[in-house]
């Protein structure tokens, strides 16, 4: 038990970093980490696969984020229905033109941010990423290629992402 906790303590800073890159907000990031750890610890006995503990925890956290994100989006759509406008994100965010890598990174889609963090920053193998996303390795490679291209273009300030122009 203690040995597992030691391993977890080492990984927690990485989980928190990943959560911040998804949520862009430190306090909701920690909530996400907490609920992911709860899930991991309560399903430890029957779900924990052989192999990299880090990859397994990343995948739990990613799923939880996507689920929560879907719920918030539904809520935002409901608000939009009542008020006739979209409050989900401040409009300033939409118009920022990327200048630094981090700003560019923040403009990528959720999956692209996760991919680049797993591969470029955490050094997970394509196979591990394929298992997290539940897609073939080839698909991981082509999505990674698109993510890199997007990051490159955004940090060059060549384009603002198309989604930036959709709404007022």
């Amino acid at each position: 038990m203690n040995e597992i906790d030691e391993q977890l303590r080492e990984i927690i800073p990485r989980l928190r970093r990943f959560a911040v890159s998804l949520t862009r907000n430190p306090s909701s990031a920690d909530d996400l980490v907490q609920s992911s750890l709860e899930r991991a610890l309560s399903s430890w006995a029957d779900k924990r696969p052989e192999g990299d503990l880090r990859a397994w925890l990343f995948s739990i956290l990613y799923r939880q984020f996507l689920d929560a994100h879907r719920r918030t989006r539904r809520y935002a759509r409901m608000l939009e229905f009542f008020t006739g406008r979209d409050d989900a994100q401040p409009s300033v965010e939409r118009t920022v033109i990327a200048q630094s890598t981090l700003q560019a990174f923040d403009q990528l889609t959720t999956e692209q941010r996760a991919l680049l963090l797993w591969v470029s920053v955490e050094g997970l193998s394509y196979k591990e990423v394929a298992e997290i996303l539940d897609v073939p390795t080839g698909t991981v490679m082509s999505r990674l290629s698109r993510a890199r291209q997007a990051l490159r273009q955004l940090s060059d300030g060549e384009i603002t992402s198309p989604s930036l122009r959709i709404l007022k």
Binding site: P26, L41, G123
Partner: protein
């Protein structure tokens, strides 16, 4: 073994150190003779490096004790004990008798929140912390009542607080489990804020008698009418709060 020239995927795999040694050497030689591909690869490597540098700070956050595995383990155990305990209470109670069983169920479930908890929460989010932006702001010819009427046609009129120097300045629509709610913020010259909150009656459809409640630093005056519940929220111990408390009828 990869084929030459390397595909774009092979170049990515090279950047990510995912090629075996033989393939890695092949790509390396290829890049030495192909400046264009080499520049491309270098750009990707630089981006990855910058990303690692930019995100390295996020690893240095102070430790959050709430996230400690031992603590989480303890909490989980505690929770499952509690669930088991509630289940046991239910079982005994149900076997003792239908009516008392039902009462035990009520006792083990958390009670309903006190009235107008959401009105106070909305005041904190909107008037105090400014987390939620206003949907509607009154300008020179603005008509707050008109905005409110778009969503709550039958509701009571907005209270007139101009006697105390307060005027409606902005409004925001919110959602509750029972349907849309709205909050209108009043402000006086000194920037003091009072909010008017209107919502459909709660889960059991309770209408509220005229009442007053304080929670932390806030005070709410509430009442019902025309099928809705209403609250006026302001910070406690202010002249505005006194004024609201003494108003019998809004």
């Amino acid at each position: 073994m990869i084929s030459m020239p390397p595909s774009e995927r092979d170049l990515h795999a090279y950047v990510d150190h995912q090629l075996d040694d033989a393939d890695r050497r092949l790509v390396k030689t290829y890049l030495e003779n192909n400046p264009e591909a080499a520049a491309q690869v270098r750009a990707w490597q630089q981006d990855a490096q910058q990303l690692r540098a930019a995100l390295s700070g996020a690893l240095q956050q102070p430790v959050n004790q709430e996230l400690d595995p031992a603590l989480i383990r303890q909490r989980l155990k505690h929770q499952s004990h509690r669930h088991l305990a509630s289940a046991a209470v239910l079982l005994i109670a149900v076997s003792v008798g239908g009516l008392s069983g039902w009462q035990a169920r009520e006792m083990t479930l958390p009670g309903a929140p006190p009235p107008m908890t959401d009105a106070m929460q909305a005041y904190r989010l909107i008037a105090q912390q400014g987390i939620l932006p206003a949907d509607y702001k009154v300008n020179a010819d603005g008509d707050m009542q008109g905005w409110l009427d778009r969503y709550f046609t039958r509701a009571n009129r907005l209270p007139d607080l101009s006697g105390a120097g307060f005027k409606p300045v902005s409004g925001r629509l919110l959602s509750t489990e029972q349907g849309p709610a709205a909050m209108v913020v009043y402000e006086d010259q000194g920037g003091h804020k009072i909010s008017f909150y209107v919502r459909p009656p709660g889960p059991k459809n309770y209408l509220l008698p005229r009442g007053s409640r304080s929670d932390g630093e806030l005070q709410a005056e509430y009442w019902s009418g025309s099928g809705y519940n209403y609250a006026m929220v302001s910070p406690s111990d202010t002249p505005a709060a006194q004024m609201l408390k003494q108003t019998a009828q809004f």
